[in-house]
């Protein structure tokens, strides 16, 4: 279990992270979200032991983070962290042995992973000669080569085509199912929704939202109603509790302040003919994120 308790980080007088709290259990994927400069990288660096925290405690399976623990952590950084002059094999031997693996173990694990990611032929190629997508695959392989118990994935799908995104998703879920703890960070909220049961949103180092995704969505007052039928946008906007109406193709998406106002919209629909669809949905994480982050920035 990874526990982050009351962690604060100052750079001189600048507060980078304030009183951060969360925990991740084995087999859990945790979303750590925030716009650029929110404090995500500082948090990752404190978890991986790169930075000392100013206050608080971070433990992995009950042990404070130090160099006896960090070998059990895999870190896929947002930007490439590869020595591109090396071949894939040389890079794997370097990072793997640095994480305490034997040469033989690195070679056998590398062969398995290269096969899994369909890039066996690039084993002896220099990393700089590979495409952006294949470099991302190599970077991902390097972060899981030593079978970490905690895996930090910062924008793991960067530079990947849809087919390879699916491949990555499968591998991430396999690690989750095998009991790894995973911290997932991405600006793509659909990916976060796909993976994360729990999440935390940081704004200027402060936690603005934290909890299980299901609960967050449930507790979120605003709801979306999707309607297909002979309705008019102007009439919908006049209904009590309606915040906005958007048209996407034939479909109207009506945002209401809270669940209670759904009945008012339904009463309006009942007066209309040819209504093919009336569905009440939870808001998307993207909407929640934009609202929460926006509110905090306006403060």
């Amino acid at each position: 279990m990874l526990k982050v308790e009351n962690v604060t980080k100052y750079y001189g007088d600048f507060l980078a992270v304030k009183n951060l709290n969360f925990s991740i259990n084995e087999g859990e994927i945790f979303g750590l979200l925030g716009i650029n400069g929110a404090g995500k990288t500082t948090t990752f660096r404190m978890i991986t032991g790169l930075l000392d925290k100013t206050n608080g405690e971070i433990t992995l399976n009950g042990k404070p983070i130090d160099y006896t623990v960090t070998d059990k952590i895999g870190f896929l950084t947002e930007e490439r962290s590869l020595l591109t002059k090396l071949t894939v094999k040389e890079q794997a031997l370097f990072y793997g042995q640095l994480k305490g693996m034997t040469k033989k173990k690195v070679e056998s694990e590398l062969d398995k992973l290269l096969k899994r990611f369909h890039i066996t032929e690039y084993k002896d190629r220099k990393i700089k000669e590979l495409s952006k997508g294949n470099q991302q695959k190599v970077q991902f392989i390097m972060s899981i080569l030593h079978d970490p118990s905690l895996l930090i994935l910062d924008e793991p799908f960067s530079g990947l085509d849809p087919i390879n995104i699916e491949l990555f998703k499968q591998v991430i879920l396999e690690y989750k199912n095998n009991g790894s703890m995973i911290i997932f960070s991405s600006h793509r909220m659909d990916h976060v929704e796909y993976f994360c049961e729990k999440l935390l949103i940081l704004v200027k180092g402060e936690t603005v939202l934290e909890g299980k995704l299901k609960d967050i969505k449930h507790d979120y007052k605003k709801k979306n109603i999707k309607i297909i039928g002979d309705v008019k946008k102007e009439e919908l906007l006049k209904i009590n509790g309606v915040l906005k109406v958007e048209k996407s193709g034939q479909e109207y998406i009506v945002s209401v302040k809270e669940k209670n106002y759904v009945k008012d919209v339904f009463d309006y629909i009942k007066t209309k003919k040819n209504v093919e669809k009336f569905v009440v949905e939870e808001p998307t994480l993207n909407e929640i994120f934009i609202e929460k982050v926006g509110e905090s920035y306006e403060k």
Partner: protein
């Protein structure tokens, strides 16, 4: 962590040595160094005018002065500045025939036409295709003057004894009042001056090599962000030490290889010349041997050499540490090239003061600088050879360097820890000064 340190050092060395660049550079060096050492023999092997000595055809209109002139010419001692090898030949052809020959062949040979005027005074004409080496011209002129004086003396009534006395050199007895003066020591000092460039130039090159290599190594890992992965497995201190050791060991390996290539070149040279290595360069080994055996030089070397070696090693370590600290603060190799300028200036100061030391003997300014860390490595050994400082100054230099190295380890590693994860140049110095205050 110790195993990881050894792993990083081993991996770093392997990555440096197992490159095409290293292999190609060493193939070039193993060919180039022996070639350069034997370049004179190689030039001669392809042939050329230099093999033939210049012939001076003496056209003696008097029919009586050739022998005397040849004897005087051979005995005329001049400073050996002329590069022209000369052979005197009594002309059997006429001046005109020889002139035509030289002109047709564009030859470098010379005609010396010795004549007498109506008053029986010697005149001469030098005829050549191109202008003549000035030093050779002076030697011929000097020999002709002596010849003319000899004839004048012979025509006078001076006896042989008187003539010998006239020509006898004036003996100058040099009386030195300094009771501590040691002629052998002075000779050794002169010999030492000749060794100064041989000592400081390689040290200068090695230091610059180390500074640039450490900068490139750290910058590569930092800019590729692989530093974040490495530092999550080993502490910044371990990483820092691994870089220092890797680069210095690599420099030692490369230096040893260069020495081996030089030894091969010298071996070939001694075989080609059929003489000892030093003799093949025209160095009188016997004279140097006598000079050394007649002085306390060996004893002094045995005492001072280990101290000088320690001073050099510590200086390289100090330069490495400073280069590593500076490299951690930069965000690109271009930044580092700018930031290493103060280091380059320090080396240049040491280099120029070492070169200038012989012109400003016993200068207090230079003596003080000889113990200043970073400069002492270049300056102190030179002043020691010149006898301007003693072992005590070398020991002070070593102590000061140890203090500097300890400070670098204590505070520099704090800067390094912050610097390697900093990718912004904004408020860089503020961040680094704050880092110094934080404990590791």
């Amino acid at each position: 962590m110790k195993n990881k340190l050894m792993f990083l050092i081993g991996e770093g060395l392997k990555r440096k040595i197992n490159t095409k660049t290293f292999k190609i550079v060493n193939i070039i060096l193993i060919l180039a160094i022996p070639i350069l050492i034997n370049i004179d023999s190689i030039i001669k092997m392809f042939g050329g005018d230099f093999e033939e000595s210049t012939k001076i055809y003496i056209v003696d209109d008097t029919n009586s002065l050739y022998e005397s002139f040849a004897n005087i010419y051979e005995e005329t001692e001049t400073i050996s500045l002329s590069q022209t090898e000369v052979k005197l030949i009594k002309a059997e052809k006429t001046r005109e025939e020889l002139e035509n020959e030289i002109k047709d062949e564009e030859s470098k040979n010379i005609i010396l036409n010795i004549q007498t005027d109506t008053e029986n005074i010697i005149n001469a004409e030098l005829i050549s295709y191109e202008d003549i080496d000035q030093f050779l011209k002076q030697k011929i002129s000097s020999a002709l003057n002596t010849l003319r004086m000899n004839i004048a003396i012979q025509e006078s009534s001076i006896s042989i004894e008187e003539l010998e006395n006239i020509y006898k050199s004036v003996e100058i007895n040099n009386v030195i009042l300094n009771t501590e003066y040691d002629e052998t020591a002075e000779n050794i000092k002169t010999f030492g001056y000749a060794l100064i460039p041989i000592f400081i130039v390689p040290f200068f090159i090695i230091t610059i090599f180390v500074i640039q290599m450490i900068g490139a190594e750290i910058n590569e890992e930092k800019t590729s962000k692989s530093m974040e992965i490495i530092i999550s497995s080993v502490s910044p201190n371990t990483h820092f030490i691994s870089k220092m050791v890797t680069v210095n060991v690599f420099v030692i390996i490369q230096s040893l290889l260069i020495l081996i290539y030089s030894a091969i070149g010298l071996f070939i040279r001694s075989k080609v010349h059929g003489a000892g290595i030093l003799e093949s360069f025209g160095i009188n080994v016997g004279q140097i041997g006598e000079m050394i055996s007649g002085s306390n030089l060996l004893q002094e070397v045995i005492v001072s050499l280990p101290l000088v070696v320690i001073l050099l090693i510590l200086s390289i370590v100090a330069y490495s540490l400073l280069a590593g600290i500076l490299a951690s603060m930069t965000t690109s190799i271009e930044d580092y090239q700018q930031l290493q300028t103060p280091l380059m200036i320090l080396i240049m100061v040491g280099y120029y003061l070492a070169l200038m030391a012989s012109s400003f003997e016993n200068s207090t300014f230079i003596t003080i600088f000889s113990v200043v860390p970073f400069i002492s490595a270049l300056l102190a050994p030179v002043l020691l050879i010149m006898g301007q400082i003693g072992l005590i100054e070398i020991i002070i230099s070593i102590v000061l360097l140890i203090i500097v190295i300890a400070l670098f380890f204590r505070y520099g590693t704090r800067i390094y820890k912050v610097g390697i994860l900093n990718y912004s140049t904004s408020k860089l110095w503020t961040k680094l000064f704050k880092a110094i205050k934080e404990k590791n």
